[in-house]
């Protein structure tokens, strides 16, 4: 499972990041990995954003109570009231195997996620 926390629907960096991940789904699938995007935007905002961009993965609304899941993953920015740009890769037992927090405005790409998935796969097969 790949959890991608991000600050806001429609913002330029998030749009780029999610567009890349949308493209990456076929590669994530090879590792039997499911991606979910999470932000504090509400479900109607998510649905509209997802439809506009043609996303093929779910966006979860950490909307009420606001940021509750983001806080559990230490990925909430209290000052601006948004999720930070944080990535988590969990294995099949739900154990966090990798995480990454991007500086504000930086798109982390997908390379780190692929490294993590490869490592989990190797561990499983060794």
């Amino acid at each position: 499972m790949i959890l991608a926390f991000y600050p806001a629907d429609w913002s330029p960096v998030c749009g780029d990041q999610m567009a890349l991940y949308n493209e990456m789904l076929q590669y994530f699938r090879k590792f039997n990995a499911q991606l979910v995007g999470i932000s504090v935007d509400g479900k109607w905002c998510h649905m509209s954003f997802s439809k506009d961009r043609g996303f093929h993965f779910p966006l979860l609304a950490d909307f009420e109570p606001k940021g509750a899941v983001s806080k559990m993953y230490e990925s909430y920015d209290e000052a601006v009231g948004e999720s930070r740009r944080a990535l988590y890769v969990l294995d099949e037992d739900g154990i966090i195997r990798w995480n990454h927090l991007s500086p504000v405005g930086i798109n982390p790409g997908a390379d780190g996620i692929m490294d993590a998935l490869e490592e989990i796969d190797q561990r499983k097969n060794s």
Binding site: D16, Q17, A19, L20, N22, E23, M24, Y27, R53, G54, F55, H56, N107, P108, G109, A110, D111, M114
Partner: protein, 173 residues
């Protein structure tokens, strides 16, 4: 982050092969930002002349840009007839029309062998080459288009206006 794989003979290279500046662009023919970068890069080539070697690699975001993959395949098909850069320019200069009939039209304008071009357009191995380039770009840290690498290292600064030109002039003057 570093570019992997490094530049090789299989890349599309324009300019002096021994230039001191090696600029790699990962681009998508249907991406409006790449369209804006196109004249900027042309100008950088003009200004830097022999000091610059330009390399173009494909990074089509197919889901966001449904015609990007086929456009990239068209550039590879043109490459098979020695006209990669002509098609590359043609595609960016006509970015709003990249459907199949438009691609064939551009190939006709470039005097390509159309039968061969259409065969290559449908060739899965060429499409796979483009997809492999996307994957290797992603592994090099490409996260959006256009992304530039200068002498093998990812360029994180702005490419807008004359920002990239000024950066290159400062660093390599």
């Amino acid at each position: 982050m570093a570019l992997r794989p490094p530049i090789s003979d299989t890349d599309h290279i324009q300019g002096n092969p021994d230039a001191i500046i090696e600029l790699v662009e990962y681009g998508d023919y249907q991406c409006p930002h790449c369209g804006r970068a196109y004249p900027i890069i042309k100008n950088i080539q003009k200004e830097l002349g022999d000091k610059l070697k330009l390399v173009f690699r494909d990074f089509p975001l197919e889901k966001a840009h449904p015609q990007a993959l086929m456009a990239a395949v068209a550039s590879e098909a043109a490459d098979n007839q020695g006209k990669f850069w002509d098609m590359h320019d043609m595609l960016f200069e006509n970015q709003r029309r990249l459907n199949r009939s438009a691609l064939v039209e551009y190939a006709t304008t470039l005097s390509l062998d159309i039968v061969r071009f259409e065969q290559d357009l449908a060739d899965e191995t060429i499409a796979q080459k483009v997809k492999d380039e996307f994957y290797s770009g992603m592994r090099s840290g490409v996260n959006a288009t256009p992304t530039f690498f200068i002498n093998g290292e990812k360029y994180e600064g702005s490419w807008e206006g004359d920002d990239l030109l000024v950066y290159l002039l400062d660093r390599f003057a």
